[in-house]
Amino acid sequence: MDVLMGLGGSDESIKTLRRTIERTREVDDDLTVAILEKPESKRSQEEMREQAEELLDGTDIDADIVELEGDPGSALVDYAEQGEFDQLVIGGGTLSPMGKIQLGPITEFVLLNAPTTVKLVR
């Protein structure tokens, strides 16, 4: 399966990346990691590329890493639409102090606009 993963700069994104790498190894998927432009996030696109390369380094996965400019949700869906992907993977939300699951506006945009199956990683 051809999998496209959208990667922001949060801790949630790092977790999603780890899980996706594990899954990719298990089932021998093809993986493309799209690093999103989120100026407000904890880590820059450059840092996230280094993180992704580091995590992929110890594996035998030959993943493509691309950096997408512009609005993250829109850029990711657009990239998915242009390519031949079977599944789009993104982080599956954060927990509030109360324990409520919160999905951000990027997640909502991707769910409502993606042409492919979308996987939310918890």
Binding site: P97, M98, G99, K100, Q102, G104, P105, T107
Partner: protein, 196 residues
Amino acid sequence: MSGTRVYPDEPSGPFPSPPSTFEDGEGRTIEVRAPDSFEEVIDDVVEMYDAFDPTDRAQGIPPTGEERIRGWLETIADESINVVARHDGNVVGHAMLVPDADDPPSMDGEGDDADGPGPGDIEWELAIFVLQEYQRAGIGTVLLEQLLGHASDVGITRVWLTVERWNKPAIALYKRVGFETTGGESFEQEMAILLD
């Protein structure tokens, strides 16, 4: 996330403080109390959530099954502020505030002192649940007002919540007591209130 939320310019209140006893829309006598510690009431509150119809869950809470419900409440109970509504001794409604900060506040502090942040320095997340058979009888409104009154008594000023965007009755209730919608909006609507 903390510190970026927009609060109303004007504070809301004053709100009535617990304890209080009132007759609900169905003529049932309802008692609202703020327990001194959550341990006093946790068993009864677990029982209420165990009886709660999971169709009305919101954003994953309450969890289902007694063990998971207890685990959830124990995780958040330590620093939480609670009010419970009872009918014939059974808990039929529960409202609570949980602090945002990683460092829990000292509840005796008045605020900016060397002992760390007080209740007024941090933001508190609100949640409220009323058992299905007791909904649409005015209990939620009383419970919400009493929680905010109690919160104000202990020095809390900033309270926020999220509510599913399609839950119009809940949004209307929150607006009625003074909550305003903030910038954050996706599947869930974020709202905030400033207390005196």
